[in-house]
Symmetry: C2
Subunit: 216 residues, 2 copies
DNA sequence: TGTACATCAGTGAACGCGCGTTCACTGATGTAC
DNA sequence: TGTACATCAGTGAACGCGCGTTCACTGATGTAC
């Protein structure tokens, strides 16, 4: 259930990819919207699992290496699965409205990997954000919604802020690369991305110690 | 020729918005692709003009204020024209392939505004990038293509690198806000954006002196 | 001032296509006795 | 082991719809004499 055209997303197109006729899909999903929701949930989940695996591949105490591995895996997943990534983070689909109760948990799961590492790094004292990162302007209010789910211990505001900051930074590079807006400006996107992520980690007091694990 | 649905882009839909029948459009564009190209060129041009106007509204010598005004205008244009912004920077349109010779010049025009300010700031000595920004890794090769057009004086590599870096940073925030991925994480997107841009400018040695011009 | 004609933006009907969705059906598989 | 029946994933035909595109046409406007 992986490869179909581009964002030319259609029930019949998906059925074609599965070597099945279109009505057969109605045995599994009552409406097209349900199918799309399932694809979105699958994509979020696949991405989150890749991030968790990247994190798990690094020693627990090396917070910078863990973050580096996770952020590199994020980009690589996006480049390897452009359709799924577009489905999640690209244009909204014209007639479709995502049911928040279905898509929010798997979406949050990937972000939680980043937050967990930041929280551990902060607790260990390795993470040393600049003063400007710690006292946010009073009207900023970056926060996690009180979704009360498995939010065992509360996440410190500085961690949430740094998580959102880091996420927005890498997201811009990935979106521009994915949709070919920087290919006349940047020769080696992987190197540029790694350079920027290193700069990001350094700016919050973390420094890489491990070997590069990915480079293409 | 502004508002039509979302990305449900269609010749008939556009004709409907213009209060005209679909075949009438064929008096102006031979194919749907030509219409799309025209819309893309218009969008790039409108964005570039907004950026140029924002720049022109600040004193020439205040490079930080000029950059701030331009980057705020960038976000505001995106939020005010989500369809046009998606058309330019969102998912590629399924059957459509943009002719580079038509879309590249207006696309580059907006980016040139940022580059020009950075170049002047560097020449004046106000811009003081960190050492890490000046000597890029040898495999990075951020550069402008030798498009020989009106590229009067060559742009220093540090300026190009800082331009791409800044662009990717603001782009991530805008895309995530525009497609509603951060609205449970960030309360005041305008304030968050401004805060991040200030942080970006500060990190390259520029500091704002002017009054805030936009705040919503 | 008045008639004849060219220009041309826009209309309305029609086409073939792929779409989402329905419906009666087929045919393989599993269970009951 | 053998027959009868229920289950159910998948099929094929059909529908109504909006799409891009074509084509002959209308009708207002402008120019020539």
């Amino acid at each position: 259930m992986a490869e179909y055209g581009t964002a030319g997303l259609s029930l019949r197109g998906i059925a074609r990819e599965l070597d099945v006729t279109a009505p057969a899909l109605y045995n599994y999903y009552a409406r097209l919207d349900d199918l799309i929701t399932a694809l979105i949930v699958d994509a979020y989940t696949a991405l989150a699992e890749v991030l968790e695996a990247a994190d798990a591949g690094q020693p627990r105490a090396r917070h910078a290496d863990r973050l580096m591995a996770v952020l590199l895996a994020y980009r690589e997943w996006a480049m390897a699965h452009p359709v799924d990534f577009s489905l999640i983070y690209g244009n909204p689909i014209p007639g479709y409205r995502a049911p928040a109760e279905a898509t929010t948990p798997p979406a949050r799961r990937g972000f939680a990997v980043i937050l967990a590492i930041l929280a551990e790094a902060l607790a260990s004292g390795e993470l040393q954000p600049q003063p400007e990162h710690l006292h946010q302007p009073p009207d900023l209010h970056v926060r996690l919604p009180s979704a009360g789910e498995t939010q065992a211990e509360p996440v410190p505001p500085a961690v949430i802020y740094l998580g959102v900051m880091g996420w927005t930074r890498i997201h811009g590079m990935i979106m521009l690369e994915l949709f070919n807006h920087t290919d006349t400006l940047v020769d080696n996107h992987a190197a540029f991305y790694r350079h920027e992520v290193e700069s990001l980690l350094r700016s919050i007091g973390l420094s890489i110690t491990g070997e590069p694990t990915h480079d293409t």
